[in-house]
């Protein structure tokens, strides 16, 4: 049973920002938030339903970036022609999130804000060097904030700065994640995950960099996606990387096992990437 709560249904970002505080939280698909509320982990006074804000579901190319509105569902991202053209790796990973209902209901922005440590999306977006854009009503000056339009302030964070821990991000209670920005062009990449239950045990994203290098991100296995950059794929020591990680033991694996399969999937991902890069 859900606890009782009030509901605001703003029609614009600025109207939404006026509603946000510690106890009045952004709400879209509810795939994570409603579960947390049902379990008694969160008891907000009010949900701020963002689904009436059209600009949060736009996909566009802007200043050399692929811009994805935070309210796009996983399924919408997976099937969007611009995403397919410019960031096929993200489209691929989004098509594997959860199940078909979660993909239809859950959003890319909600997924990131909830910071579920086993998120496929965060791992892939880290590998793509994506950033999130956060805006807040311009009441106070954020230390590293830049001025946004219309009496708002905004800041951009990459995944490492945004994701602080399991279920913990740098989003402040008055801030709204409005979009995700992926720098273009996106080079060849792969995403491989090892999943035996509802969520992945480990997810490995690898994106080609330069002539022989890659950016490797290992997600799901620890508290946060871990990124590594290599000049030469051939020099990657999968065991050494896995050994650096701190896996979270759970019913899908002990620390020992998770380290082991992490190494296995790093090797498999890099082999697949090499194949992709060398393919004509």
């Amino acid at each position: 049973m859900l606890p009782p709560f009030g509901l605001a249904r703003p029609r614009s970002v600025s109207a939404a920002l006026a509603e946000l505080d510690e106890d009045s939280v952004p709400y879209w698909g509810g795939t994570e938030l409603l579960l947390a509320m049902r379990m008694g982990l969160i008891r907000p006074r009010q949900l701020v339903d963002l689904k009436g804000i059209a600009e949060l579901t736009e996909v566009r190319i802007e200043d050399g970036e692929l811009v994805l509105g935070a309210g796009l569902s996983h399924d919408e991202v997976a099937r969007d022609p611009l995403v397919a053209e410019h960031a096929p790796l993200l489209a691929y990973a989004e098509a594997l999130v959860g199940n078909a209902r979660v993909r239809a209901q859950g959003t890319i922005g909600g997924n990131l804000c909830f910071a579920e440590p086993r998120s496929d999306v965060a791992t892939v977006l880290s590998a793509l060097s994506a950033e999130v854009r956060l805006v807040a009503a311009d009441g106070t000056d954020g230390a590293d904030g830049t001025d946004g339009a219309d009496g708002t302030r905004e800041r951009r964070l990459d995944m490492a700065a945004f994701l602080l821990g399991p279920y913990w991000t740098d989003r402040q209670p008055d801030e709204l994640l409005v979009d995700v920005r992926i720098p273009l062009p996106v080079t060849a990449g792969v995403y491989l995950k090892y999943q035996t239950v509802e969520r992945p045990t480990v997810g490995v994203a690898a994106v080609a960099r330069g002539a022989a290098g890659c950016r490797l991100v290992v997600g799901a296995v620890g508290e946060l996606p871990a990124g590594f950059d290599f000049e030469d794929v051939a020099s990657v020591d999968a065991e050494a990387i896995a050994g650096e990680l701190e896996p979270t033991p759970d019913l899908t694996g002990s620390i020992l096992y998770k380290r082991h399969v992490t190494a296995v999937f790093i090797r498999r991902a890099l082999a697949e990437l090499a194949e992709k890069v060398s393919a004509p």
Partner: protein
């Protein structure tokens, strides 16, 4: 925290929706899930509940043609939207192609998961009228059945897809 302790703002909302094509206007609690609204307020008990964590698929319904888990979807969110449930599948008492294929392929036993499978299969065939076996499995992997061992369900969906294509039209 109970409702009377949170009384400084309204805890319910007026909504207008269409359920299986029928217009419905109601005041619903914000905390009411779509499943509670369908089952308790409207008496549409064909939609069942089981895991209540969006993983079993029993409560799958379509909202504006998207499949959602009615256990974790607020009733207020169907405001202005079209909802389809298992009760809307048959036409004038005649089973549609998917329903017939489920019956004929013995794709259900206890039937508790069936509404969810039918709604997800409806969604699949609307997106992809000619799915491969692999595509059926991939799309329906998020629905649990404890009775059948799944194979008859896969066969039923493929069978229904064939019938719908042969009929040349979507049958709803």
């Amino acid at each position: 925290m109970s409702e009377h302790e949170l009384s400084e703002q309204p805890l319910d909302t007026e909504i207008q929706t269409h359920i299986n094509g029928r217009p419905i206007a109601r005041r619903v609690r914000n905390r009411a899930t779509l499943a509670q609204f369908l089952r308790d307020d409207l008496g549409l008990t064909g939609t069942k509940l089981s895991c209540e964590l969006q993983v079993c698929g029993v409560c799958s319904v379509l909202v504006d043609d998207r499949p959602v888990s009615a256990c974790t979807y607020l009733a207020v969110d169907v405001d202005g939207r079209q909802v389809r449930t298992v009760e809307g599948l048959a036409c004038n008492g005649k089973l549609n192609a998917l329903q017939s294929a489920f019956v004929e392929n013995f794709a259900l036993q206890c039937g508790f998961c069936t509404a969810g499978f039918l709604m997800m299969s409806t969604s699949l065939l609307e997106r992809n009228p000619d799915p491969s076996e692999h595509e059926v499995v991939e799309y329906l992997d998020g629905n649990i059945c404890r009775c059948t061992g799944y194979e008859p369900i896969v066969q039923a969906v493929l069978d229904a897809a064939g019938r719908i294509r042969a009929a040349g039209t979507s049958d709803d």
